[in-house]
């Protein structure tokens, strides 16, 4: 009995650790986000917005996980899940392609005349 209690404690501790770890990650990532954007030239604002838009398409991973957990006879979940995967993919693919098109515009020696 004591033994099991110890194991439960251990697992609880790990769980807690895990949550705390996530908090560390969130805090650090917020810092990173802020630092990355604060020094960006204004011409790049729109492509950056678009690039960030594509990145949050990572929600697609969540949709995939949902689909992986759905039992094959739970039709509603499957339909919604497939839709979620579809729109998530739209976000990802559309986001990256649009961003690429925008940035293509900036290709020619983007710093050329700034030096002079």
């Amino acid at each position: 009995m004591e033994y099991i209690q110890a194991i439960i404690d251990l697992i609880a501790q790990y769980e807690q650790q895990n949550t705390l770890n996530l908090i560390y990650l969130v805090v650090l990532m917020i810092f990173v986000g802020i630092e990355l954007i604060s020094h960006v030239p204004s011409v790049l604002h729109t492509p950056l917005m678009s690039g960030a838009n594509a990145i949050h398409g990572v929600v697609l991973i969540g949709a995939i996980i949902v689909m992986g957990n759905a039992s094959p006879d739970d039709t509603l979940s499957l339909v919604f899940g497939t839709l979620a995967v579809f729109v998530g993919t739209l976000n990802v693919i559309g986001g990256f392609v649009v961003t690429d098109r925008m940035l293509e515009m900036f290709k020619k020696k983007p710093k050329g005349e700034k030096v002079s």
């Binding site: 990355l36 949709a63 998530g88 392609v97 290709k107």
Partner: protein, 475 residues
Amino acid sequence: MMPYMEIGYLIGSVSFVLGLKMMGQPDSARKGNLVAAFGMAVAVIAALFFTSKGFHVISNLQYIVAAIVAGTVIGTLMAKRVQMTAMPEMVSLFNGMGGLSAALISIIEWRHLLHTSGSPEAMDQTAALPIGMYIPIMAGLIIGTISFVGSIVAWGKLNGKIGDFRFPSQQIINAVVLVAILGVAYINYGEFNATHSSLYFFVTIGLAIVYGLLFVFPIGGADMPVVISLLNSFTGVAAACGGFLYQNKVMLMGGVLVGSAGTILTVVMCKAMNRSLMNVLIGMAGGNGGGSTTSATGGSVREVQATDVAVMMKYASKVIIVPGYGLAVAQAQHVCHELENLLEAEGVDVKYAIHPVAGRMPGHMNVLLAESNVDYDKLIEMEHINPEFATTDVVLVVGANDVVNPAAKTDPSSPIYGMPILDVDQAKQIIVLKRSMKAGYAGIENELFFHPKCGMLFGDAKASLQKLVNEVKAL
């Protein structure tokens, strides 16, 4: 037992950060986008084919792959077909899709919760609803829905399909709706397992939809880039909620990164337009989307003819073109480039003066002119071109207004006071191409037009430029 899945997620997360960093520098921006896309691909493959224990194909793979293929094809087509000038609305649409995806995930997970914890066997357990799951599910639902609805509205506004819509005391109503959402979500937690549970859940969705509409409706069409950026960071937070729910680090990292970077970007964008975020959200100033009805009073305007302007430019040694929102609206970038080529062929030195917030999105003019293949070296940024106006013979202002308004320097009561402007009044001659004496985005009059050096060539920018091209050719 290598944790391939985790490694894939780690690669994904790091690529996102690296990619976003590279996107912040002009030289590496495009490569940065590819880096982020690569990271996304790795993460998706990790999710599809691996668990922490090793290789393992996910269930329902056929549906997933079908959806991904469909999304890829349609997404690529949409993104490739969209016109340069319509890109902001495209971004908004894709952003909405992300929000929708987050909301759908929450709905499915909620049903899942209901069916497992809410099943008769579980009934006797005292409200076995884990708060650590409930909060991310509901947060993902609410934020995702708001982002979805808001983005669609923003898309419609930029499209011109949806107009502005203001109502009295909108701030208060918005706040009430927001409180109501949180309240219902809270009650829903307490009432879990009871019969009302689904009802409350749907009420939450409904309220979130209403909030999304109310949030974006009153904001002026021209402020949409800022709103889209804000909604973008919302979707990031919604994705992060999924990360918490599944303890999935790549979702968490990507979501939080976008949430924080997006918020800062929003603030920075507002600053570049000399406004505060509050200002934009409350819908003050400049909400009229280019073309309020303030008309000229006092002073007289000198109208000029295309012929005269053509002569003036042909025999100038240096011409600077100042493009603005009107150039974009009139889709006059190609003919503008044509004029530039003609003049260059005559030995005239032609440059473009790019104001950072000319147009309706940052970088709008760069993107627009690049589309018509104007040489990048000819696009000179404000700080670098300002000293050059003094040695310029003719400045051709094409559909720009606020960015050349001297009130930004001289009139402390003006809403644009303090914004740096292009010093066109240093030049020997100024020619302004616009349709009328109407104001621009900020809705204020422009003294420049009454300046003795300044001549107005009225008419649609594209038509006027075409006339100039014809005249120069004819000379």
